[in-house]
Amino acid sequence: MEFAIETKDLVRVFKPSRKLLKRKKNPNGEGGSGEGPVTALDRVTTQIRQGELFGLLGPNGAGKTTLIKILCTLLLPTSGQAWVAGHDISKDPFPIRERINMVSGGETSGYGLLTTRENVWMFSQFYGVNSKVAKARIDELLHIFGLWDKRDAKVRTLSSGQRQKMNMIRGFVTDPDILFLDEPTLGLDVNASRVIREYVEAWVRKQKGKTVLLTTHYMAEADQMCDRIAIIDRGRILACDTPENLKRTIRHDTTFRLEVDTLRSASAFSGMKGVKNFSSKDDASKNTTSLTFILEDESAVSDILSAVQAQGAKIHYLQKSEPTLEDVFISMVGRGLE
């Protein structure tokens, strides 16, 4: 088997639910984004090698979870094909299920009445893991994730960080060949995130043939951990390469970050000479707008500053910085990741 995961022209369209259709008929109902079918994945073609730590980086609603669900055999594609561990996800789900596991951020699975240990053990039984083997692995993982003190605590008493560590243990306890992690550090504190990232990296690097597909909208996470990254937006993969190569695509450009008084409009910047792309985000609490510019020509800065001042906005902060993966994203779609 060459690839752990392979997809070919995957398309997933969600039809609006009956409830939404009803609302549409109602003249007072909300319109907008809820209407019409949503193309969550648009001809996604990827190949992920065995042993790779592969990242899927994209903003909310990009289609990351949809792709993971299809690969985990929870969802069928509208068209296109995908193979996981060499098996077709539509036709042959059971052999895939034996070899994968999935953990998503903020999940609240399990039973609050069970203890941490019992909960993970229960899930391991659905994969037929020998009970003794499972218990030994659970104890080892509880130590690694710093959850040993909570081994006999009821799940409902765990904090969200502790819960997510337990979920990670649930993912590793079945010793999958391919592990899907859907925003595993979503909403976690720095410490819990670090423990999780370090273990995931070690797990892939120290063993042969283990593959991880990780989705995230934290660019630092993708940059630090992943061998290769696919940048995804509105269901389409825009680029796929190593973090270094992705950043190299904008190496001739300059990144400037600005914080200014809230702007009435950022349209003055689009099409400005020397500006390849930019993102703008208002912060209502601080009454400011944060701007990131990807400049082909550094001299465009003076035009930008005059445009800001023309709106009567004060400049709080201006910085030239190293390109990040987010800048790569901005240069491609003109929006930030968050």
Binding site: L74, L76, E107, S109, Y111, L113, L114, Q125
Partner: protein, 308 residues
Amino acid sequence: MSAATVTSRIPHRIRLNLRAVVGRAYPRIVGANREPSWIFFEAILPLLGIAAYVFIYQALANRVLLDPTVSAADKAATVAATNALIGSVVLGGTMIAFWLNVLWSMASQLYWEKEIGNLQLYMMAPMSRMALLGGMAVGGMFMTSVRAITTLVAGVVVFSIVLQVTNPFLLIAVFFATLVALYGMGMTLASLYLLWGREAWHLSALLEEPIFFTSGFYFPAGGLAYVGGWGRVLLTAATAIPATLGLDAMRQLVFPGAWGDKLWIFSPEVELVIILVLGVVFLVLARYALAYLELLARREGRLTSRHQ
């Protein structure tokens, strides 16, 4: 795949699915005992229901027993008939524990699993879907059995009921066949409830009382046949609920000859066969209902996902 790998995979699948059943039953068996309120619902409520009927039947009997004009033979017959009636109620109350567990706990199980976020993890696991449902059923059965035995023993002792077991094997066979059929029904309902969502709740609430009545939990259901007009229709409908025939057969087997053998539906042997058929039908239905549900979930992407 070669023939050798096929045969070596069969025990592997069986082992996996047995583990899955035990794993899925575990939280019901262990977890439920950590929640003392269950004891109240599962053991005390049926006892209260039983007591109400027992007092009515005893009061009716007393009118005969305290009447000086009634002969000693008639009084003895009344005592026997009342013993069978009260015993029937205790048996009915015992089975109600299972019926409530099926109707409320089993049927809504998958729906709650979806709400919690467990369902998609279950669907993603390699276990067979029947192992998932089976685990739920075994857990529910085990937990409920503890309560049911409490109810039965308390009822028999408190109301000093005389049981006359003539054919223990048939009795045990009927009991387990009834449980399998009942939980098979619960497994089918579980998928249907998930499909229908909250509306199904109202159905449960709506069905609960009428089924208590038509299934004869508190009186021999065969009596319905003597009610003019709709009685027979109700009784026929009630036989689709495995508890009806199961209870009737068990009552026949512990109170032989009660009420001049006029209130039984069929013979226990015939009833056992019907229950077994019902059990198979429900299990097959459950399997296909869940397979259909899974297909729908994978196609439409809304049944297993928590947020949609």
